[in-house]
Amino acid sequence: MLYRLADAIPTIWLVLTLVFIAMRILPGDPAIAALGDGALPEQLAEFREKMGLNVPIWQQYFNFLIGTLTLDFGKSYMNGAPVLDLIARNLPYTIQLTVAAMILGTVIGIPFGVLAAVKRGKLPDSGMRIFSLVGYAVPDFYLGALFLIGFALNLRWFPINGAGSGFFDILHHLFLPALTLALVKAAFIGRLTRTSVLEVLGKDYVRTARAKGARENRVIYRHALRNALLPLATGMGLSLLATLSGSVAVELVFNRPGIGRLLIQSITERDYGVIQGGVVVFALMVVFVNLMMDLLYVVIDPRIRVK
């Protein structure tokens, strides 16, 4: 496991470097962005000095790497708040959203996928196909906007922005954005489940289970599904990552706080420190998710358990 962690270090380094380069290639001067067009040359120079932007670029890169190692991403150019604080304040909202979407998507997707596989070629299967096509085709920001207009603005069932406070209020605020992400995810998971279950249902051990006298439900849920979960786990990992990036758009649409919105905002403002910090957090989450997936395999499949 430690070995796997060490494995992730080059990945993170590569991401850091790419972000650093990308930010410097983009046109736009952070000092002008922060102080406005009318700022005096002395003010700009002072700002650059304060933020460490006046040293040669390789030194900026070096400082950035060192800073990342110590989890010090500097201060926001905009409001002077430490980047780490900004991230710490926004991260829980993104995690809430992603986890809720993941749970909702799985709870919707897996049963539908199983149903489609078992009733192959019949009505539930066709329904599933249409649902997943729509799910693939409709972009999440558009779906989010539809939900927002329909359920929040017109029907007033849900709040239109913010994240709420207190358990039930948080859930209330969370539902629409999570559902937006979850439907796209359910389409994907459902499709994947269907394929995987269909394949497993043709296996010899499924026939063995039937030969023992197991009834269909038991055959499907006890014998087939757990084996079908193996390939599914990979897909779910990928899909969780897709949800992370999907959360960027959804946070914007629903005007929710979160890392995604923080990132978008800081990109428009050329707030290098916040962007870099945000991307590092995203990269760490991706690495973390991959690690979790590896662990999940071990739980599901006894064959890869280390003796």
């Binding site: 296996k203 010899d204 051990y205 026939r207 063995t208 289970a209 039937r210 030969a211 023992k212 006298g213 197991a214 009834r215 006890r222 014998h223 757990r226 084996n227 599901i300 499949d301 006894p302 064959r303």
Partner: protein
């Protein structure tokens, strides 16, 4: 053998049913959509008496596995379908039963062992759980009692250190050991009929002998009626006293093992016997039946063995021979053996 009494105690002696345990009548199985369906088994009839061991022998594609799956009610459907016939088990037509009744019979009254021990066990369940499930599905039993029984079963099939092996997964066993686990699972509820579909085909020769010995032991200790499917007459002769020869979806000969070896009446059976290697004449080339098994659905008229038959007469091309009684102990689907000359 201290295990046997406790094993047989699990189920009281079955209510005595007059007549054969299994009677298959005019069974036909089709595959594919109606209209263009292909018959893979056609008009198969045979009986198995309680306590007997009967073998079905035939090449791949002869319909022997499909016949056994039909008895289990496990023909994959679609695309498969039972087109005609009855399968009477203790006098009850299994094909007439509602679908929901079959799971009660499978595993309890009729159990099956499959050809591929490597892929026939669920890779993510411990073997203890898999054998235990076979018991749990049909018998009310406490957890601890069930565990004890699984240990007994593992002992019966000769798995060393059963207490510890309960928690092991299939991938931790060799092919032969997995087949033993399959056998333990099949006999868990002391079934009246045990169908073994090529139980030794996927195994090494030395392991084959061990598994056959185990089948003998099962028969001795549990008194199970056995239907053994194999392409190997030697394996069948080892276990069974009667053999049914199938060719191209039909029964072509049905006789006791000794009679078949001494005087086979169907030319296909003769061909099969001649192609068994013998130790004495190691220098001669092994006999080979000329030609190939016809694809299902390609023989429209006459005897299905006609194109490959060394003894054929004109009548064989025109009329399909039914299973004719040659002697009271021997039936063969052959005009020539039944005395026809033209």
């Amino acid at each position: 053998m201290t295990i046997a009494p406790s094993l047989s105690r699990q189920q009281p002696a079955a209510s005595v049913h007059p007549g054969p345990l299994l009677k298959v009548e005019d069974l036909s199985i089709e595959f594919g959509p109606k209209g263009t369906a292909v018959r893979v088994v056609e008009g198969v009839s045979f009986t198995i008496d309680t306590g007997a061991a009967v073998g079905i022998v035939g090449e791949s594609g002869s319909g022997k596995s499909m016949t056994s799956l039909a008895v289990m009610g496990l023909i994959p459907s679609p695309p498969g379908r039972i087109a005609t016939g009855r399968i009477l088990f203790e006098g009850v037509d299994l094909l007439g039963l509602p679908r929901s009744r079959m799971p009660e019979i499978r595993g309890r009254d009729i159990a099956m062992i499959f050809q591929e021990p490597m892929s026939s066990l669920n890779p993510v369940m411990t073997i203890g759980d898999q054998i235990g499930e076979a018991i749990k599905l049909h018998q009310k039993m406490g957890r601890e009692e069930r565990r004890q029984r699984v240990v007994e079963l593992l002992k019966l099939v000769g798995i060393p250190d059963p207490e510890r092996r309960l928690g092991a997964y299939p991938h931790q066993f060799s092919g032969g050991m997995r087949q033993r686990v399959m056998i333990a699972m099949a006999v868990a509820c002391n079934p009246k009929l045990l169908i073994a579909d090529e139980p030794t085909t996927a195994l090494d020769v030395t392991i084959q002998a061990q598994v056959l010995e185990l089948m003998h032991k099962i028969r001795r200790t549990l008194n199970t009626t056995i239907l053994l499917i194999s392409h190997d007459l030697g394996v069948i002769a080892d276990i069974c006293e009667r053999v049914i020869v199938m060719y191209a979806g039909k029964v072509v000969e049905d006789a006791d093992v000794k009679t078949i070896f001494r005087s086979p009446k169907h030319p296909y059976t003769r061909g099969l016997l001649q192609s068994i290697p013998r130790l004495k004449d190691e220098n001669t080339r092994l006999y080979q039946i000329p030609g190939m098994v016809p694809l299902p659905g390609t023989i429209k008229q006459g005897c299905p063995f006609f194109p490959r038959c060394p003894d054929r007469i004109d009548k064989c091309a025109r009329e399909t021979p039914p299973l004719l009684e040659i002697t009271p102990q021997q039936k063969a689907a052959c005009w020539v053996s039944a005395g026809a000359t033209s």
